[in-house]
Symmetry: C2
Subunit: 290 residues, 2 copies
DNA sequence: AGATCTATCTGACTACAGTCAGATATCATG
DNA sequence: CATGATATCTGACTGTAGTCAGATAGATCT
């Protein structure tokens, strides 16, 4: 009853019955689950029929029939795509948006009810984030983004907060060399965010300089996504972007209070070099030739 | 994307697709899911037809057909119960045990595979325990047990380990007044274990003395089950057992390094009293008249 | 003993999910 | 412009889950 496998299986049992309850609640609106799922996929912004079919794993015949039934209910409208008349685009009608909103309300209510039952919601949410990230690990997407975008700023905020917790003397962004956003945008550099189903779970910056090298900055992995080798994926992505941009030498600084970072660098071909800047926080410096 | 409700919903999405995959894996053995579930329920020790029906939430007609199909396959045998010939008992045949073992192997493999993907399995398992406990909170059962039973000893071990972590000077059981097992057995006292679907998640001891009062000892709630008000439930159970045993005065000792315990006692009618023993660890003493 | 209750079983039925083959319209290519 | 590829749709079909109304046999109560 206490070995790891039993614990995973206990979790599976608990979650199976909870998910069943969640599914059946969607049946309260007099529509088969399949149709409800399609409606929700459309409401969440999917408009390409093939994309929805793929996302929900449906047969084309079944998909067609589900669309027809939603159309008959007056909830969706379909139209051939302009660039390819074989493909169809779907969108919600006014009634469809109302119906979608009702499903959203139902989901929100359920989530809220679950949280309300629990007096330590923070711990529960952290656990849920962790598990959701683990389950969707192969679906964590890395995307280049503007370092000023909402997702990027969220990641940076979490990163600074974590440094504040981990450095014994705290962390004050204004004392560190906060890189200029344009140094982390093409063509000088790049900023990459890892997203797991809407939640940003990591980032890394590639910052161009005028000294013959570029710097890796702001490597962060959310606590919920640790153990998934996401740091390595982010570094790989940053390095290949650097190669694309014709960069041949990379440098970075870090702090010995972040041992997992140092270990990552050492195990991926970086070698330690002497201090190359006067930032007060770092005490370890690395370099990698591409 | 970052508010609590979205996080719960993200978890739901992640888990829904994972559970789907888990279910379909059970279809690999050429048997509908319903029949597989019944077979597994029997394999896990359920033998009363009505009990299985209730557990799986099945209609009596459907249940009967599923049993028939398993019987036709030669996997189970049914017999009327001796004390009530309307009720039926089910058990696995030799072939049924083989088939059940195959399902078990499948489940174990899947759980193992999931863990193996993850490099920080401890954190993942802790998160799974937490969520499983939260989802099954209304199914946490409190049972009186012998303090020498496997479950009780597991709880006590965890309890001592936690004291070791929380007390700055550590914790050595041999220095504390380890209560005699027979003082926590009826009629002198009692020992209650909380179990959430096979996993012990809390305990409390009621220890009889010869000084006109009984003591509450070893109140412990597993980290995974905190926030579910289980401490309160355990204390309530211990107090009502005390009343049954004719005990009119309860005492307990605790330590200010466990603030949540002190808070629980204060909010449930206990009042602080002067030290009443010479145990080196406690520094807070309470009493409650029933 | 008769009336009533209970657990299981059987037959008849429905809804839903899903599969497959082929029809149709459109696109891409030589 | 013929050919093959592609996206969707339609019709015909299957298997599973699930419901409901009795039927049956055994328990329980008066």
């Amino acid at each position: 009853m206490l070995d790891p496998i039993s614990r995973v299986r206990r979790f599976n049992r608990a979650v199976t019955s909870a998910v069943g309850a969640l599914d059946t609640s969607f049946l309260g609106r007099g529509r088969p689950l399949g149709a409800a799922r399609v409606l929700n996929a459309i409401g969440h912004g999917r408009s390409d029929v093939a994309d929805i079919r793929d996302y929900l794993g449906l047969d084309s015949g079944l998909m067609s029939r589900l669309l027809r039934s939603l159309e008959d209910e007056g909830l969706i409208e379909t139209a051939a795509r302009e660039d390819d008349a074989r493909r169809r685009m779907v969108k919600l009608t006014r009634a469809g948006r109302r119906e979608f909103a009702a499903y959203e309300a139902l989901s929100n209510e359920q989530a809220e009810g679950f949280l309300a039952q629990h007096s330590q919601a923070d711990a529960l949410l952290a656990a849920m984030d962790l598990i959701a990230s683990a389950l969707t690990r192969e679906r964590i997407a890395l995307d280049e983004m503007d370092p000023r975008s909402e997702q990027a700023r969220y990641c940076l905020g979490e990163y600074y907060a974590e440094l504040g917790r981990r450095f014994s003397q705290g962390f004050d962004v204004s004392l560190s060399r906060d890189p200029d956003a344009k140094d982390m945008r093409r063509p000088r550099g790049s900023f990459i965010v890892a997203t797991s189903d809407t939640l940003p779970v990591g980032c890394v910056g590639l910052k161009g300089t005028d000294h013959g090298y570029a710097e890796i900055k702001r490597l962060w992995v959310a606590p919920a996504a640790r153990g998934l080798r996401l740091g390595r994926r982010l570094m790989d992505a940053a390095e290949s972007t650097a190669r694309e941009l014709g960069i041949t030498l990379l440098r970075l600084d870090t702090n010995s209070a972040l041992p997992e970072a140092g270990q990552l660098y050492r195990s991926t071909g970086w070698r330690e070099i002497p201090r190359f800047n006067d930032d007060p926080y770092p005490d370890l410096f690395f370099e990698k030739r591409l």
